[in-house]
Amino acid sequence: MGRYVFNRLLWMIFILIGVAILIFTILYLVPGDVSTHFLGESATIEDRAAFNHKYGLDQPYLAQLGNFLYSLFLKGDFGTSFKYNTPVIEELLVRIPRTLFLGVSCIVVNALIGIPLGMMAALHQNKWQDTLCMVLALLFVSVPNFWLALEMVDLFAIRLGWFPPFGIDKTTSWVMPIIAGSMAGVAANARQTRSSMLEVIRADFITTARAKGVDEGIVVRRHMLPNALIPVVTGLGVGPSKSIAGNVVIERIFTIPGVGTYMLSGIDNYDYPIVRSSVVILAVFSSLVMLLVDIVYAIIDPRIKAQYSGKAKGK
């Protein structure tokens, strides 16, 4: 197990270097001169040259890339913002916890609401509970979360005044962003739980358990759930990376000063060091969450665990 985690972590580093190269290259190819944007059309050629020289923009692509990778991965230097002239890392460190908090809360809500919904649907297959849950799930996937966010601001913040419409000043500020951010995930989890529950519900071991006279509650909790939840955990693996990184629009709507809004401000201001670093950070989180999910998956599924602990036994 330890070796598995180690290998995955090692591989993750390569992936992140790849991500950094990819993002750097995409942003490098953006047409237009960055200095024009910051210094204005009227800036003299000398001023522009000085600006480009200061940030190393006058160097060839490979030199810039090398420089970027070297300072990012070996020195932990995320670069300096063109606009604010401050190190990006300082701002990121303040913002990361907020984005993480939002993302992790969404994951928790996804699981806490989605899984019971799916279970209820499966246990009452083809009855009204099933229909209700699946209609809810369909609505949740279909309604765009940023529109829901705006409507929630309209109703709960402005008309009813229950929650602040933006910012993170109060604890209640987080309620609406978390609801908006977790809708799609709730739906996905409910659907996945339902279909994997339905797969085990008619399994022979369930019939056996019932035939032995095991209490129905125990059948559901001890016999069905652990088997049904394995694919749900895999599904959770796709959800979190979306939750951590996909809340960019939600962050903007509620003006949560997280990594997402930072990235968007970088985009608006042509401040590419900010964009690059934010994307790399978000990719780190989503990779870490995926890894975490894979580890949990390996722990709860004995078949996977056997593959890694008993090396090359069967294969």
Binding site: I26, F146, L150, K242, V275
Partner: protein, 289 residues
């Protein structure tokens, strides 16, 4: 099975899917509403008394009324008219975005599955990197790099889809690789292109089609989100997401500016999803139980 039955059965495969699809109430409702929306978006402009960009400055911020069915925006433009024109953007972006992603994914996936070996190993590692950037984030970055515009938005939207299609296809191809009909095709010296597109593709395509259909809804939402952020279709074009962005400052005051465009997105996405779910059940009836 008797020989003469076989041609009959093969003919009806597609018909069977359609037949099953037609028995699915949700899918039928979804498709009907979508068709209605398509017709309205094509024919509607003929009947609209206003242009989508026609500013009537005396009618600013009018609430929904007889003159302006769904009200007007900050420039006195008729929301209803703009929504009708906007339907084209959402539907076209969603469908072409999904198809473009599918097409690129199919070509790359087939090449990868056909070549296998070293190419596959390297390509899969590259794909890991590609997929490590969450789709929406990648779309935002690509849209930033390419700038706003219709074609650019399609590219940005489809790029996140590609790794998924490739993975799906690769798994399918691996499962048919050793099939006799491929060996037969090789033995009669069929060209790689012919083998890939004529022999492998028809046998592996259905999960990809299902997946693509089910993704159209998500792509429409992402398109609206990109436009909302100002990276997709730019105002004054009446894209629904862009309309949301324009109306967001008036939330709580002139709420029709946000309510109706969002409702339109939700309805279209809902219908597409209903159709997608129906299609999945029709193509793969096992999954329904």
């Amino acid at each position: 099975m008797e020989h003469n039955n076989q041609t009959v059965k093969r003919k009806s495969q597609f018909a069977q899917v359609i037949e099953r699809l037609l028995t699915n109430k949700g899918a039928v409702v979804g498709v009907s509403i979508l068709l209605l929306i398509v017709i309205i978006s094509l024919v509607g402009p003929l009947f609209c008394p206003y242009g989508y960009n026609e500013m009537i400055l005396t009618d600013k911020f009018m609430a929904p009324c007889a003159k302006h069915l769904l009200g007007t925006d900050a420039y006195g433009r008729d929301i209803f008219t703009r929504l009708i024109y906007g339907a084209r953007y959402s539907l076209l972006l969603g469908i072409t975005g999904a198809l473009a992603g599918m097409a690129v994914g199919i070509v790359l996936g087939l090449i990868d599955g056909y070549l296998g070996g070293m190419f596959d190993t390297v390509f899969m590692r590259f794909l890991d990197i590609w997929a490590a950037i969450p789709g929406q984030l990648l779309s935002i970055i690509i849209a930033t790099a390419l700038g706003p515009g219709f074609v650019n938005t399609i590219i940005a939207l489809s790029i996140g889809e590609v790794p998924l299609v490739i993975r799906l296809l690769r798994g399918q191809i691996l499962s048919v690789r050793k099939e006799d009909y491929l060996e037969a095709a090789h033995s009669i010296n069929a060209s790689p292109g012919r083998i890939m597109f004529k022999h492998i593709l028809p046998n592996v395509i259905s999960p990809v089609i299902v997946n693509t259909t089910m993704n159209i809804g998500a792509i429409i939402t992402s398109a609206a989100a990109l436009s909302y952020l100002g990276l997709g279709i730019k105002p004054p074009n009446p894209e629904w997401g862009a309309m949301l962005a324009a109306g967001k400052s008036y939330v709580g005051v002139y709420n029709w500016l946000v309510l109706y465009p969002g409702l339109c997105i939700a309805i279209v996405v809902l219908c597409v999803n209903l159709f997608g779910d129906g299609l999945r059940d029709a193509i793969d009836p096992k999954m329904k139980k």
